[in-house]
């Protein structure tokens, strides 16, 4: 029942069953009403016919028995020839072409039956319920269980003629006259209709269920296909979920899924590159340690040789330490999890201090430093994080720019945004694809020497990106025209200059 198709099938089948049932009941009720109306109409017509026949008969019988004779009119179950019998004959004759089981009863004002037809086989007929108007159609159940349709009329309505039905000759003048007709035919027709409706309903339901099953199967096929493709979707090798034609309802879902899978694939690739890079970075110093110690222990080194080996061991350990420290600060989010320490400071002073910090390294490579800070702008930001970002951008530029070139720093603040851009001449062989990888952990265009100390393990720009995010901004890198027909490397930071977006809980970017 967990299947969408099965659920829909059950729900729709039940709904169809209910609809068919309701339709059947409606048809049945309408048919019943129609049959009742038809029977009632016949009763009405029969009553009029009976009145006419009775009056005619009464007129013909007048000479033989003077109307109003007490002997003739007393009693209600008299011998043949009594008024009841006469009425019976008259009414039976009047109804003979209409219905079987016709009978009548007449009731006095107090509800006592003053006349009753013999066709009722001695069963009492209850007086009709009080009713307004000329007539009342209602159902009667005789004591033998037979059902009769009854038409009750006030004698006044049928006694418009001089001697209606001749009943006015009774000793106790009847107030109500009830004409009864068997409803068995109608009951039979209704039973047939019920059977027909049941059969037709069941057949319809079975056929509709089959069709529904087929329609659901075909209609939901795209969903099944989609589900299969989604299940087979694999960030490593799977084909896109959205490949091929999909219904309009599913296309956005597939598109979104593919987008997520693409992101997941990229994240997995980044994670793998990161892990691979970490493993690679760790292998070399570990190899140094192992080889150095094995060689030192395996040989017959003198004190100077052993000291030289220890110096190398110390260097390898420092290298390992710098990698581990960088990884720890990256993974623990130690710096990023702290509350931002917002300070307001002059942008010009901040940039000047950053430039001063890299000046010795720049001088060693013959690199000139040029600054361009807009006006007397002030910035409110976390100076520690901002310094980390700017120092990283600057030190990388100074380290990798071609010797004896210029590294320029431009900074501005306005409209709530701080922008710092560092530009240097493009190192030989650096391609646009390389620039896109600047912020990957441990990435380097050329191998770093394993003697590199802290800050040279290839995580600087990676961390800068994390700090920039914590400052509510981002860092970028691209190749741009240098204005002299060549290309320059530009790295930059865009962040909030008001501290408004400095995130307390900013996480390090995914590796």
């Amino acid at each position: 029942m967990n299947s969408l198709r099965a659920r829909l099938f059950v729900a729709l089948s039940l709904a169809l069953l209910v609809a068919l049932g309701a339709g059947g009941v409606l048809i049945y009720e309408l048919a019943g009403s129609a049959l009742h109306a038809e029977l009632d109409a016949r009763l009405d017509a029969s009553l009029l016919s009976a009145i006419e026949s009775a009056n005619e008969a009464a007129a013909r019988a007048a000479p033989a028995a003077a109307p109003g004779s007490d002997r003739e009119l007393e009693g209600k179950d008299e011998t043949p020839g009594s008024i009841a019998d006469v009425l019976e004959q008259r009414i039976t004759a009047a109804f003979a072409d209409v219905h079987s089981g016709v009978g009548f009863a007449a009731f006095a004002r107090d509800g006592t039956a003053v006349a009753r037809s013999a066709s009722l086989a001695g069963f009492d007929v209850a007086p009709p319920p009080p009713f307004e108007g000329e007539r009342l159609h209602y159902d009667v159940v005789l004591q033998n269980g037979h059902r009769r349709r009854a038409l009750a009329v006030h004698m006044t309505s049928v006694g418009s003629e001089a001697t209606p039905l001749g009943l006015d000759a009774l000793a106790s003048a009847p107030e109500t006259f009830v004409l009864l007709a068997s409803s068995s035919e109608m009951t039979g027709r209704m039973a047939k209709l019920r059977s027909l409706l049941l059969f037709a309903g069941a057949a319809t339901w079975i056929l509709a269920a089959g069709f529904l099953q087929l329609a659901l199967k075909r209609g939901l096929a795209p969903f099944a296909h989609f589900a299969a493709r989604a299940a087979a979707a694999d960030p490593e090798t799977g084909t896109p979920v959205g490949a091929g034609a999909l219904p309009a309802e599913l296309a956005p879902v597939a598109h979104k899924l593919d987008l997520l899978i693409t992101r997941l694939r990229a994240a997995i690739a980044r994670e793998r590159r990161f892990n691979s890079a970490v493993a690679h970075e760790l292998r070399t110093p570990v190899a140094e340690l192992r080889a150095t110690t094995e060689v030192a222990l395996g040989g017959e080194e003198d004190a100077a040789g052993l000291r030289a080996a220890l110096v190398d061991v110390e260097g390898s350990v420092r290298h390992l330490e710098s990698i581990v420290q960088a990884l720890l600060s990256l993974r623990s989010g130690r710096h990023l999890g702290e509350e931002p320490r917002l300070e307001t400071f002059a942008l010009e002073d901040f940039v000047a201090a950053a430039v001063a910090r890299v000046a010795p390294a720049a001088a060693a490579r013959g690199i000139a430093l040029a600054t361009d800070v807009a006006g007397d702008a002030t910035v409110t930001s976390d100076t520690g994080r901002l310094r980390s970002v700017v120092d990283n951008l600057l030190s990388n530029a100074v380290e990798y720019a071609p010797a004896s070139t210029t590294v320029s720093v431009a900074a501005s603040a306005g409209a709530g945004r701080l922008e710092v851009t560092v530009r240097n001449a493009r190192p030989e062989g650096l391609a646009a694809a390389d620039v896109e990888r600047f912020f990957e952990p441990f990435w380097s265009k050329t191998p770093r020497t394993s003697d590199g100390g802290a800050g040279h393990v290839g995580l600087g720009l990676f961390l800068a990106r994390a700090f920039a995010a914590a400052l509510g901004g981002e860092v970028h890198a691209r190749l741009v025209d240098d204005g002299n027909g060549g290309r320059a490397v530009e790295v930059g930071l865009t962040a909030s200059s008001t501290g408004a977006a400095a995130a307390v809980s900013a996480a390090p970017p995914s590796a």
């Binding site: 690679h280 080889a291 150095t292 395996g298 020497t449």
Partner: protein, 226 residues
């Protein structure tokens, strides 16, 4: 045996050079791919230990250039790259062996020795010359079952002669294989070394195995069998 180590990590390079020298190899070193290629093309090496991620010229590039120059010197790639694709790329580029950092130095030395043996068409770890048995892996020599006490340099000389059993090895070849660029052997150092080796191998009463071919060089073998 003379080995070239091309490794950009100074510390690892120093350890490799020292460790291989301990095991009797003559070792030269290069710190980048360009210098490594130049030395590999110019020198006479029995094996090259080559890092992949090198400044100036990538290790794979060095290897390809080497093979293009018809240099069939055995090359062992020693790298931190452990991916299958890296191994495949390295071996397809012409490497004879591939070892991932970190490594056990003994394993590295054994692999280098195996490469050197293969270069001389030897697969067995021992070479038997008459009643002299030279164990190239254990780096021992036995004459009539008795262990011959040899220094690392003396064993390296014996190893070279044994691998070229019956063939004359010139002084120049001996110098090229046994001495690295830092050594500056004097003119008679080869003769002196052979003389010392002969004294230890051809002890009194034993059939001489170390022979001199005047003006050509030296050879190891049983006279008359060659």
């Amino acid at each position: 045996m003379r080995v070239l180590v091309v490794e950009d990590s100074d510390r690892l390079q120093r350890a490799l050079v020292a460790g291989l020298k301990q095991r009797g190899f003559a070792v030269d070193a290069a710190g980048d791919g360009q210098v490594g290629l130049e030395r590999a093309l110019a020198g006479t090496y029995d094996a090259i230990v080559l890092d992949l991620w090198l400044p100036k010229r990538d290790g794979i590039d060095v290897l390809q250039r080497l093979r293009e120059s018809r240099q069939d010197v055995p090359v062992l790639i020693l790298t931190a790259r452990d991916g299958v694709s890296d191994r495949v790329a390295g071996l397809d580029a012409g490497a004879d062996d591939y070892l991932v950092k970190p490594f056990a130095f003994n394993e590295l030395a054994a692999r280098v020795r195996a490469l050197c043996r293969r270069k001389y068409g030897r697969r067995s770890r021992t070479v038997a010359v008459g009643d002299l048995t030279v164990d190239l892996s254990a780096r021992t020599a036995r004459r009539e079952g008795a262990l011959v006490d040899l220094t690392a340099r003396e064993f390296a000389l014996l190893e070279l002669l044994a691998l070229n059993e019956g063939a004359v090895v010139s002084r120049r070849d001996i110098e090229a294989r046994l001495y690295d660029e830092r050594d500056e052997p004097t003119s008679n150092v080869i003769d002196a070394a052979v003389c010392r080796l002969r004294r230890k191998i051809d002890r009194n009463g034993l059939k001489p195995l170390v022979h001199t071919r005047r003006g050509e060089g030296y050879w190891l073998g049983v006279e008359g069998v060659r």
